[in-house]
């Protein structure tokens, strides 16, 4: 059971308070009508599924209810960063280097 930091509640809580909602920073096309089938599949189904440093969406569903983003190494499961929704994605390579991964 992972230990997750909620940047809104500013506390670490057990994973069971949260729901993980997959890869972060995948924006729904603003004007779907103009989007090709290829791009729509990209939005619906295609994910990086990275073996390594990965930015993903979490929701503190049994806490403050807020969505936020976290950077996690998908082999060690260590979290490298937590940031609020709407904040830019940190540079993953830099984070990876800092963590020595």
């Amino acid at each position: 059971m992972l230990l997750v930091y909620c940047p809104y509640c500013q506390v670490e809580r057990p994973e069971t308070e949260f729901s993980c909602r997959g890869q972060a920073h995948i924006a729904r096309p603003a004007d779907p009508d103009t989007v090709s089938d290829e791009d729509w599949v990209e939005y619906l189904y295609l994910r990086d599924n990275t073996k390594g440093v990965y930015a993903e969406r979490w929701r503190h569903i049994h806490g403050c209810g807020r969505f936020f983003n976290a950077v996690r190494h998908t082999v060690s499961d260590d979290f490298l960063a937590f940031y609020k929704a709407g904040e830019p994605m940190p540079d993953l390579d830099t984070l990876a280097k800092e963590a020595g991964k």
Binding site: C9, R13, E17, H62, G63, C64, R66
Partner: protein, 191 residues
């Protein structure tokens, strides 16, 4: 002291027998309350507090208590407001009046949840049989309020004293929550 102020708001339901009364821990059903869910943007925080009668806490997991009022931080733009049962419309209307024109959402959720009061030297231990939170006083000081999970049910935990916690759960979950707390407390009676 927060204990005192909360206790004139969260009171044992006179009609009810204690769910559990042991030397080291007791569980009491709390009397009905006015509960409002308030959502708004930062600029409206002060007005809302003024209208309600207790400032809206802005520190995460914080609560502010004044006479017959309590405002609980639920999220960065969400508060639960507590007041006596009979003051529902008064409080509701006052806030709506003050916030008219300001984007917000005020919803009556008085009946959505029920509260129990868990107190005694073993109260903290009892909660930890189902809640994975560090309740030591430095990590979870008096006045802290949070939503979390108790075994398989969502609950709200509000520490109103060193050894006193208010536990709220949605009505249909309360049998599960109080039932498991009572069951887990049984071993305290063991020889």
């Amino acid at each position: 002291m927060s204990d005192l102020l909360a206790s004139d708001l969260i009171t044992p339901d006179a009609g009810e027998n204690p769910l559990l009364s042991q030397p080291s821990v007791s569980i009491l059903k709390a009397a009905p309350l006015t509960r409002l869910s308030l959502r708004l943007r930062n600029q409206s925080v002060k007005d809302a507090g003024d209208a309600f009668g207790a400032a809206l806490p802005v520190t995460p997991l914080g609560s502010s208590v004044s006479d017959k009022r309590a405002a609980l931080w639920m999220g960065p733009d969400e508060w639960t407001l507590l007041a006596p049962e009979e003051e529902l419309s008064a409080v509701f209307d006052a806030i709506e009046a003050k916030l008219s024109g300001q984007p917000h959402s005020l919803v009556d959720v008085s009946d959505r949840s029920e509260a129990i009061i868990v107190s005694g030297e073993k109260a903290e231990w009892l909660l930890r049989t189902g809640i994975f939170i560090d309740f030591s006083l430095d990590a979870f000081p008096v006045g802290t309020v949070t939503r979390t999970i108790f075994h398989k049910a969502p609950v709200l935990v509000w520490r109103t004293g060193d050894d006193t916690f208010v536990i709220e759960a949605w009505v249909s979950f309360m049998d599960y929550v109080s039932g498991l707390l009572m069951q887990s407390a049984q071993e305290l009676e063991a020889a």
